[in-house]
Amino acid sequence: MVHVSATPVLALRGVSKRFGAVQALTDVELEVHAGEVVALVGDNGAGKSTLVKTIAGVHPIDEGVIEWEGRPVSITKPHDAQGLGVATVYQDLALCDNLDVVGNLFLGRELLHRGAIDEVTMEKQARELLSTLSIRIPSVRIPIASLSGGQRQVVAIARALIGDPKVVILDEPTAALGVEQTAQVLDLVERLRERDLGVILISHNMADVKAVADTVAVLRLGKNNGFFPVKSTSHEDIIAAITGATDNAVTRRAERRSTEAAK
């Protein structure tokens, strides 16, 4: 199910980020290929959000290189990331409640027809996009305020796709959703992969990660703590990497002993 291309669409090489005295990210590596879903997991404060924000251009990196399709690029503001083809769906969806679905999908990128907003073409494209993603909402002309949480989430994700991105970052897309809505969003993530997009999925929910991700990248205390192919890794191994269960007094002692014994 993984069709991984040779050159990653997006690659982070030795990225570090400091906020004052806090070292938020240290030498972080990450690769995302086209048609690959990379789950980014880690405990609270592990640096997931910071990492995503560096990719999205909210926080410029201090050290390291971001490579886009093999070329080093500089991402210093959100506009740079959008220009490259990175679309981010944040946890707080940030949709305009008063605008309808079409208005929200095209917000900031309205199509024009003789200088005026082209509602007809926008509506047509919105319907086409939603139907290719099998998104079901009552109508594309109702205000976002009338939609349920799950429907808002899929609209927010669909909105990220309007600009034809190559990498989509989803920040906890299923955190506030019910069983069926979660399934719909996971379906949607799989459809993004089928469209050959690279997906970075942040989630605390191991079931979701196991369900859709190809690779799991674990962050712990701002550093990489392992990359795991989902298929061949057990739930427990990932949890252990997240919590650092393998890194404690007992294991350290065992390690020390073994190195001493080797001498």
């Binding site: 008063n98 208005g103 900031g108 509506e123 079901r136 909402i137 009552p138 305020a145 069926e180």
Partner: protein, 449 residues
């Protein structure tokens, strides 16, 4: 609720049937217990759907009112009540002359209300429009009378002054972060002070009203010099423009295979507009004709309506009013939108001030004072623009002003003194805001806000 299978306004072309099936849930919603099922054309019983025909309109209308989407309903009810009461008290109220008076005097405060609609759409308030309008009339008088400047040049400079003042308010609000309420309250006092200082010892500057903008905005200036055909021409133009626009839209929507308005509905709407506008035209013709002030006001409404609904700038205004964070993430320059909106408000306030100057052919100490500000805010809110931002239309300036000016003129006709007028204006403003707040509450309850 209804089980009718034919629920969307128009049917897509056959090739779009599949897209319809997936997207347009009124016709197709998969059963909730089976998320993987292919979309099957069944009606989700939870969805409120629109029926065809007249009955559909009535149920839709009832549902909207219950859901707090009152639209222009309070205006029409208010107008009927107000006109009935005043007509019973004084049978000259609904005479052509009096209605013509209402139509003329509503345009000045209406201009202020147009600017306020922009600010209200952001969910903010501009308390300075009254003072700015007074200052504008004085600035214009100083340019023309004291410096002998050409009237039209003075008009342009005056409007630029208003835009500058508004932009200054917007800058303090958007860049410094001072609440708009406080900035414009300071402006309310400060610009009034500047006006008093400019007028100085003389107190009043009379502006020659035989030509130039002051004549145009004055009471004796009529569209096409009172030609009977003028009013009907305007009414006809409005109806034709609406028909052309609607059918054009229908044609493009048909071609694109998205739901469109049925011809019967377009004709019904155009018919209603035609009746309203031709009755208004006939009434005004029975008196003196259509005042140029009203024509300019209506033209401004059409232009601003287009800007708000059909341009990216208008969309940005609505977006900032609906969610600042969402707007910012969509790449909208929020401070720019805020500053320009306040600049627009200042510009329309200045233009409104010119209308006031036209009414009296002078710049006076009490121009733009008294209840001008309250009336303008009340007009925008009564007309259906929400104080909470993101919802409204510029036509609320016209509808609200019809109500407000009817009350003003009616009270004048009954020789009520200022004390009573202030109390009634205050009550009307409070009433409008109460309606807005209550309708917002029920919108929340109905999941629409």
């Amino acid at each position: 609720m209804s089980d009718t299978s034919n629920t969307v306004k128009g049917k897509g072309s056959p090739k779009d049937e599949k897209a319809d099936a997936a997207v347009e849930a009124p016709t197709t919603v998969a059963p909730a217990d089976d998320p993987t099922a292919a979309p099957v054309p069944v009606v989700d019983p939870r969805l409120l759907v629109r029926e065809e025909g007249l009955k559909g309109y009535i149920t839709e209308f009832k549902r909207k009112v219950k859901g707090g989407e009152l639209g222009s309903l309070p205006v029409f009810i208010g107008l009927i009540i107000i006109w009935t009461i005043f007509q019973l008290k004084n049978d000259r109220f609904l005479s052509a002359d009096n209605l013509s008076n209402i139509s003329y005097f509503l345009s000045a405060t209406g201009m202020l209300a147009i600017g306020l609609v922009f600010v209200l759409l952001l969910g903010e308030i501009d308390l300075s429009v009254g003072s700015v309008s007074g200052l504008a009339s004085t600035v214009f008088a100083v340019f023309v009378v004291n410096h002998g400047m050409n009237g039209w040049l003075a008009l342009i400079l005056t409007i630029i002054t208003g835009i500058g003042i508004g932009a200054l308010h917007g800058w303090f609000f958007a860049k410094i972060g001072v609440p708009a309420f406080v900035v414009t309250l300071a402006g309310f006092l400060g610009w009034n002070g500047l006006m008093l200082w400019l007028l100085g010892s003389s107190g009043t500057i009379n502006i020659p009203a035989d030509s130039g903008p002051v004549h145009l905005f004055g009471q004796n200036s009529f569209f096409m010099d009172q030609a009977i055909v003028g009013a009907y021409l305007l009414a006809g133009l409005g109806v034709v423009l609406m028909l052309v626009g609607s059918f054009n839209d229908q044609r493009r929507r048909k071609a694109a295979g998205v739901p469109f308005r049925p011809t019967s509905e377009i004709l019904l709407r155009a018919g209603l507009l035609a009746v309203a506008s031709f009755v208004a035209a006939a009434t005004l013709n029975n008196s003196a004709g259509v005042s140029n002030a009203l024509v300019i006001f209506l033209a401004a409404l059409v232009v601003v309506d287009f800007v708000l609904r059909r341009t990216t700038y208008g969309r940005k205004v609505f977006a900032v009013g609906g969610g600042i964070e969402a707007a910012r993430r969509a790449g909208i320059n929020v401070p720019m939108v805020r500053i320009t909106v306040f600049a627009i408000s200042g510009g329309f306030a200045a233009l409104g001030g010119m209308f006031f100057a036209g009414q009296t052919a002078s710049a006076t100490l009490n121009a733009g004072g008294g209840n001008t500000l309250m009336l303008a805010i009340a007009a925008a809110v009564i007309g259906g623009t929400s104080l909470f931002g993101g919802r409204g239309s510029v036509w609320s300036a016209l509808l609200g002003m019809l109500v407000i000016q009817s009350i003003q003129t009616g009270l004048d006709l009954l020789n009520m003194n200022t004390s009573i007028q202030y109390m009634i204006t205050g009550a009307v403003l409070l009433g409008a805001v109460v309606i807005d707040s209550v309708s917002r509450k029920s919108q929340k309850a109905a999941g629409r806000a």
